[in-house]
Every structure is written in structure tokens, then in C-alpha cells.
Symmetry: C2
Subunit: 313 residues, 2 copies
């Protein structure tokens, strides 16, 4: 079951953090990309091959200190077919390295279409009686705007293939309040969504009392997190927005339960492009810089958990 | 400007309908797919090549009687990289045949990530100073759950490349009511979203008083359509749900303005797999069957528009 593995990896590695693999070719070291542009020209193939080498070095540098990575598919989709090939190769490489892969795809549509997305990312697609895998993920993110008959299409594959999903509840971006904070009968929309998520979560609880059906709750809204933690006690929270988007360890503390579990905190740019932030790093050191940034983030969150008396594992 | 072209194509072809290209390999005629499975085995390559031949025949059979096609990307994504290659080849083939292409992608994320999706589908991606195209669409569908700082990322490309987007307002699926119909200060969530869409629409009006920023409004909610038409007078509506999902011409009539414009009605399965519905068609006739179904749908909607005094063009 996805959530059981996630918790075991978090405990083994003493690390409730996720590294977001959101490559931007313009931020990738010249030492990596120049050789591919030389070989393939200024093409998607050149960019994609550079991204793959970059991702592998990042994964090699952090795989022993984190439980999971979260590739954001948009940053691969923008490099076309070559980009999406490298998305999938990145997912598989991370998996081989013993990491869980959270495909940040934010898909969601009417029932039959959501089933196709589920086939694509956490299930299998039937071709003349053969079940084939399109893209590899252990868990994905899903958009709830279309309601239950979208969400339910993913559940079959979550059960059958021991996968997971994180449903968007309260996102980390500035205008998340525009729809998500509207008040209906004394409750905000995101609280309504939390109620829906809680119902789904409750049906798929693993051996540590957490569910493979979780929620996305942005790091940038600490007060809301306290409330959402109560509304979805068994849901694991995927918490983006730490670091580059402004969230701190204190901001994310309420996403964790008293057992010190219940949340994984993501940082993308702050880890993978850490080599750009300090003069001590040369371009070649981007892997080392990412490792140091990941360790600092892990320690920051663990220390804050301890200071709140939340880390019992 | 996308919306100007759309209106001109609708008038030229006397046809406010869109054909949804949502292939399912199990519904594609054996006469098409057997040769590819023979050549490529039971693989994604075999399925994708069969889908491409099928799509081309459908496009060849209807391109002169419709203004646009709407490929649903999920049905390609589920066949992996091979599927997505064929998604893009389908989009380009339709464009060469003089059709507008609405990529039904329902993407949406935080600002920087939405920009990557915009690059991928309606804009360009920078690679070392070169602007490259990842996937071809004239317009796309977008999910509004993350609010304005998601939506605004698409607007730059809409302006620069004369593209469009249709923002989900009220979807056609049974549980669309779960979130979309919640009432906030006397107004439903989808009405709030309609307000957001109307603001964006109003900023990008073309020469026929319609905007390239439109709305998705399901055919299955006729009463809501009347209201939404008033809330978004200049937005073009993309109306899915006619046919297989249960929407009729009478159901969609309120999505049109008094000038007979303002909406395009989509049917997918009802057109492309029409050959399966009537005994008179053999497998080889799937193109002819699709053409007849598209003509019937066009005539059904045009007749209903006329009977409501709405067709002045």
C-alpha cells in the first residue's frame, strides 16, 4: 500500500521531505547542457537529455536522505515528446533508486476521461487484452473541481496497483483564496473539499492509520493547516510551498499530527537549484549543493517537529 | 484572433458544432487496427498508429462541415509517448485541413507551472534563445480551481499567438453539482467562476463582440445555461455533453445568444463511433457514418436555433 511504504521510508530515512523535480533548462548548469546542445542543437532533444542528466545527478545526490520525489509534469510537457520521455525516465530512475514517485499532474475530468488519466499514470491501459504501463508514478495529484465521479475513477487503480493520490484542497499560490476560501453555510470551499477527501481517505486506511488518498495543502497557509488537519485526520498531506514560495518550518508544523506523521513537505527550486544561491558552489557542485539544501531542510523540519513535541518516531 | 476565426468558420460552414476526437482502441474498427497490431504487436505503437489512421479518416470525412475538432488528451496520454505523438500529429493534421483545434487538456496549476503548460500547448518554449513548439492547439481548456494567478499565465500566449482558452465553469458530469453548485452569498460557485471568466473575457474582445477567453458549460444543465449566458455575454461557450452524455439540441439552445452565436456544441463518441450504432454501416464505413452523424447533429442544432429565432447569420 502506497501510504504504508511512504511512512516506512519517512521513518527509515528520518525525513518527511520531498524533492520537487521541476527542471528549467535556463537554470541547468552549462557544464551539463552545453554538451547536449552541441550534440543535438538547440532542440527539445538537447534540452531533454540535459534535464535527464541533471535529474539523475540530483537523485543520486539525495536518494538516501529523502523518501520521495515529485516531478512536476508541466516542466516536461513544455519540452514536447522528448520532455515527456524524460519525465518517465526520471520517474523510473527514481523508483529504481528506492524512492517513491509522486507525479504532480493535477489531472481531473469527467468519469470516463479521468479513467484514461488514471490508466496513464497509476494504472494500466488495455491494448488487445494486454495491460500496458504508459507513465510510472506511485501517487499523483488530482484536481477536485469535477467532484466525486472524477475522483472515484482513480480509486480502482489505487486499490489494484497499491498507488495513491493527493487531492488539491488548499493550494499554495496567492489567489488560491479566490475560489477556495469562498464561504458556504459557514464553511469555506476548501473545507468542503476536505470533507470529500476525508470520506475517500477513510475508506482506504493502511496499517499505520493513514490513507493512500491524501490532500494537497499549501505551506503558505499555516492557520488553515491546523483546521484541515482536524478535518482530515487520516489523510496524508502533501505540502508544497516551503522555501522558494515563502513557507517556513513553523508554517508547515500544523500539517503534521501529534505522532509527527501525516505530512510530507516539498521543496523544488530551493533544493535542485541550490547551487545558484551560494558563492561557495561551482556549477559542477549542483548535486552536492542540492544534498546540503535537502539536509538543511530535513533538519529544519525535524528540529521544528521536535520543538513542538511532535516527533515520536 | 482565435474567436474571430472560430466565428468565421462557423458561418462559412453553417455549423456551430465540434467533433471530439476521443479514441478508444477497443472501439476502433478491426479493419483499421489489425494491420498495425500485426506490424507492431499488441503495443502502444500499434494502438497509436491505428488511432492516427482512424483520426485522419474521421477528419477527412467531416472537415468541410465543421469548424473545429476537440481532441481529449487523456485518451492519448493513456497510450504513453506513442499516444502523445499521435495526439500532436492529429492536431496538426486537423489544422492543415483547415480546422481549428481545441486541445481538451484541462490543465491548471500555480503561476509558474501554468506558464509551463501554456508554453507546452498554446505558446512556445525557450531553449537557448530558440522558441520551439511542443504541442499544437488553437485553444485549450483550463481548470479554474487555483484562481486568477493560474489563469493569467495563459493570457500572454493568447495575445501573442492569437490563441484561446475555455475555462471550466459548469461541467457536464453528474457530480459537477458537488462543488460547482454550492451557494456563496446567494450565488453558486459556478456563477462566481462565471464572474471571473467574464472579467477575463471582457479584456480580449474580437471584432464580432466575442472573446477568445471562453467558458466550458455542460449541455446537460439547460436551466443553468440561460443564467450563465447572461453572466458571460461576450464569452464563447464550449458545450460538451450533447449525444452520448444525454444533452439534446433543446438543452443546449440557451447557450447561444440571440445572434445565434456564442456557443459551439461538442459530440465525441456519438460522431466518431457512429458506425457502431446502426446496422446499415459496415466497419469500413466508419468515416461515412461519422459524416452522417455530424450532419444530423449540425442540422438538429441549426433547426432548433431557427425554431427559437436565434439564427440570423
Amino acid at each position: 500500500m502506497f501510504v504504508n511504504k511512504l511512512i516506512e521510508f519517512i521513518k527509515e530515512k528520518n525525513s518527511p521531505i520531498v524533492v520537487g523535480l521541476d527542471p528549467r533548462i535556463e537554470l541547468i548548469p552549462n557544464v551539463v547542457k552545453d554538451k547536449y546542445f552541441k550534440k543535438y542543437g538547440k532542440t527539445f532533444k538537447g534540452a531533454a537529455e540535459a534535464i535527464l542528466e541533471f535529474n539523475k545527478e540530483i537523485i543520486d545526490s539525495v536518494y538516501d536522505i529523502i523518501p520521495a520525489v515529485k516531478p512536476q509534469i508541466a516542466f516536461y510537457e513544455q519540452y514536447g515528446i522528448e520532455g515527456l520521455k524524460v519525465y518517465n525516465e526520471t520517474c523510473k530512475y527514481a523508483s529504481v533508486k528506492g524512492l517513491l514517485v509522486i507525479g504532480d499532474i493535477k489531472r481531473g475530468d469527467i468519469g470516463s476521461t479521468s479513467k484514461a488519466y488514471s490508466n496513464a499514470h497509476i494504472g494500466k491501459t488495455e491494448v488487445e487484452g494486454e495491460s500496458l504501463e504508459a507513465f510510472y508514478s506511485d501517487s499523483i495529484t488530482v484536481n477536485p473541481y469535477l467532484g466525486d465521479d472524477c475522483l472515484k475513477e482513480f480509486v480502482g487503480d489505487i486499490e489494484q496497483y497499491e498507488k495513491g493520490m493527493f487531492i488539491l484542497v488548499k493550494t499554495s499560490n496567492p489567489t488560491s483564496s479566490q475560489l477556495q476560501d469562498l464561504v458556504v453555510e459557514g464553511r469555506k470551499i476548501y473545507e468542503k473539499v476536505a470533507g470529500i477527501v476525508n470520506e475517500w481517505s477513510s475508506k482506504y486506511i493502511g496499517k499505520y492509520n493513514y490513507s493512500s488518498i491524501g490532500a494537497v495543502v499549501g505551506a503558505t497557509y499555516p492557520e488553515e493547516a491546523k483546521n484541515l488537519r482536524n478535518l482530515m485526520p487520516s489523510s496524508y498531506f502533501l505540502v508544497p510551498g516551503y522555501g522558494a514560495q515563502g513557507g517556513t518550518a513553523e508554517d508547515v508544523i500544523h500539517n503534521f499530527n501529534e505522532d509527527g506523521l501525516g505530512a510530507i513537505v516539498n521543496s523544488s527550486r530551493g533544493i535542485i537549484f541550490a547551487y545558484k544561491k551560494e558563492k561557495k558552489w561551482s556549477e559542477e557542485d549542483y548535486g552536492k549543493a542540492a544534498r546540503e539544501a535537502a539536509i538543511n531542510m530535513r533538519d529544519d523540519i525535524n528540529k521544528t517537529l521536535e520543538s513542538h513535541g511532535k516527533k515520536y518516531w
